[in-house]
């Protein structure tokens, strides 16, 4: 956590579809909280579900943990090694991997779902509480960035 009183983050300048709803609401990001990756189960995408102390009093523990756990399970689904990924892999191999030029992979579909989920969580839970989650894909799956916003009244 770090506090950056001077950092101004203008949502209107963002080109991400995730932020479209929030456009025209200039807000100030007062600080950011980073949820790091949890590598205890290997290199799969998983984030630490421990509640960060900097969010104390801003959101309920259970709500926060539900969000992170749901995200973790969505990533686990995307990364699942099973019959589905084997079929996809073999089919792609038979076509000399040219099929990926025209069809989205299972992983990409999952990422779209995750982006929608983050957006929905922001709209219903986080933005009303003065927080905003950044889609982990925008941070290269290194962290989940939670922006603490200063509401302009």
């Amino acid at each position: 956590m770090l506090s950056q009183p001077g950092t101004e983050f203008n949502m209107a300048s963002s080109h991400h579809p995730q932020n479209q709803v929030l456009d025209n609401i200039p807000r100030q990001v007062t600080s950011k909280v980073f949820i790091q990756r949890d590598y205890s189960e290997g290199s799969g995408v998983k984030f630490i579900t421990k509640f960060p102390t900097d969010l104390e009093g801003k959101i309920e523990h259970s709500t926060f943990q539900d969000t992170i756990e749901k995200l973790n399970s969505m990533f686990a689904e995307a990364e699942e090694v099973g019959s589905r990924s084997h079929c996809e892999g073999c089919l792609a191999c038979l076509t000399g991997y040219t099929i990926f030029l025209c069809l989205p992979t299972h992983y990409q579909k999952c990422l779209k779902r995750i982006a929608r989920f983050v957006q929905e969580q922001n709209d219903t839970i986080y933005v009303p509480r003065g927080l905003m989650i950044t889609d982990p894909m925008e941070r290269g799956l290194r962290v989940i960035e939670i922006n603490i916003l200063r509401q302009d009244t």
Partner: protein
């Protein structure tokens, strides 16, 4: 980092992320294609395959199709197309580059590992290593000073492309790209199909020559009729062994779910200890092959064609919270995002990074006292060594003493560990000479080898 104002003027043409990518890569087709900086060996590979196959289709296929079976050209075409598809796929895709941390993220990590009492003279900053336990094995996550992240397990920093790559295998100059998490399966299918193609063409050409010899009466007459066949035989003969050996090696790696990097370092070799095993293995050969070759197709983390969002960071915020004084932690200076034209000229920031390198050494293992001496004498080599050798002998604990490399002529094999190259590779055009600390060229390589293991760094220093 934009200037000191908190407002900005709108940019006429929004830049895409590949245009500001800080690694040493080349992009084509507006970011759709990504390759390493030097690609000449890749063109050589393509040329070799295309010329051999051109000669084969021109001189051998018509005769064989007529006298043996029309299946030969069909099989050859299918194999050739598959080889080219997998080769281009390997060469043009993102190997699994982890984008560098944003300044805020880096500052957050700095805060977490901040020195609690920098004024205490006996205090030594801890090595920047996080430990995690994966399937019962302790894995060290090393901090990457270039990317400002703790590298995920199996990731490594490619010194040629200057990127952290997930499940880094090696940098392959033949395909002009790193081989990592996202393109390993294409690479494996490429060498596997290339081995088949080589053997197939070799066998066909020999059959062709034998048939011609029987027809014409003498071997010399047969060669006169198809002079190209001899060239093909020579090309195939010299390449088939290396390709077969490489295929065998990578089949072993795939079956045991290892990477070339891990295999060369011997990270999970039983020689390191009885309880040392590969924690990433699925347990059986079949599962490993399926997992590596048919696992989920990971998406690129780079978002190369995404538009750069101008994020305004005021200077107070970076100096205030993000940048501890060099006394505490030398290597925490945030490099400014490089301009594209600056990216072409890596020589220019050598002097700058040279200093960073010095401080990196410091942050790893030497007291603040030593730091001042080093910072003051950034260029000459010998004084630094003289300063540092006693330190290494007296007061430092070597964490991996039993794995210290054998030092030959001042250069160690292990020093180049990040620079894992194709076992059969020629020296790539862009490759740096073997690492030597405090030499002005090969910037990040030095930084990385030093941060890899502080002990390694000191061994190197004492051998200069």
């Amino acid at each position: 980092m934009v200037g000191s104002e908190t407002t900005y003027t709108p940019i006429a043409m929004p830049k895409r992320k590949w245009e500001v990518h800080p690694g040493r890569n080349k992009f084509y087709c507006n970011g759709r294609i990504m390759m390493a900086r030097s690609t000449s060996v890749f063109y050589f590979t393509v040329g070799l395959i295309v010329i051999t196959m051109g000669l084969f289709f021109g001189f051998d296929c018509p005769y064989l199709a007529e006298n043996l079976t029309p299946a030969i050209p069909i099989v050859a075409i299918l194999l050739f197309l598959f080889v080219m598809a997998t080769l281009l796929r390997t060469a043009f895709s993102d190997p699994g580059v982890i984008p560098r941390a944003t300044p805020d993220e880096a500052a957050d990590i700095e805060k977490q590992i901040e020195v609690p009492n920098p004024n205490n003279p006996t205090y030594r900053p801890p090595p920047r290593v996080k430990e995690v336990i994966i399937n019962g094995q302790t894995v060290k996550l090393k901090y990457c000073f270039t990317c400002k992240i703790f590298r995920p397990p199996r990731a490594s920093h490619c010194s040629i492309c200057d990127n952290c790559v997930e499940r880094f295998d090696h940098h392959c100059p033949w395909v002009g790209n790193c081989v990592g998490k996202r393109n390993y399966r294409y690479f494996y299918m490429f060498i596997l199909s290339l081995a088949f193609l080589c053997v197939f063409v070799f066998a066909c050409v020999i059959t062709h020559l034998i048939l011609r010899t029987n027809e014409a009466g003498s071997f010399l007459d047969a060669i006169k009729q198809t002079p190209a066949s001899i060239i093909e035989i020579l090309l195939c003969f010299f390449s088939v062994w290396s390709v077969l050996a490489l295929t065998g090696f990578h089949s072993y790696l795939t079956a045991s779910n290892l990477t070339t990097n891990e295999d060369i370092k011997g990270s999970w070799s039983s020689k390191r200890g009885e309880n040392n095993y590969n924690p990433y293995s699925y347990g059986s050969i079949c599962k490993n092959c399926c997992g590596v070759l048919c696992g989920p197709t990971h998406a690129s983390l780079m978002d190369r064609r995404g538009v750069v969002v101008p994020e305004i960071v005021t200077p107070d915020s970076t100096t205030g919270s993000g940048q501890p004084s060099p006394q505490n932690y030398g290597a925490t200076t945030f490099t400014e995002p490089r301009e594209p034209d600056e990216m072409n000229d890596t020589k220019e920031d050598n002097s700058k990074t040279n200093l960073t390198l010095v401080t990196t050494v410091d942050s790893n293992n030497i007291d603040a006292v030593c730091n001042e001496t080093i910072a003051a004498t950034s260029q000459p080599t010998s004084p630094i060594v003289n300063e540092m050798t006693p330190v290494s002998q007296t007061s430092l604990v070597f964490p991996t003493v039993n794995h210290l490399p054998v030092v030959v002529g001042g250069e160690t094999e292990e020093n180049n560990r990040n620079n894992v190259m194709h076992p059969l590779s020629p020296p790539p055009p862009g490759a740096h000479p073997p690492v030597r600390p405090f030499v002005k060229h090969s910037i990040s390589q030095e930084m990385d080898t030093l941060e890899e293991d502080s002990a390694m760094g000191l061994v190197k220093l004492s051998t200069v």
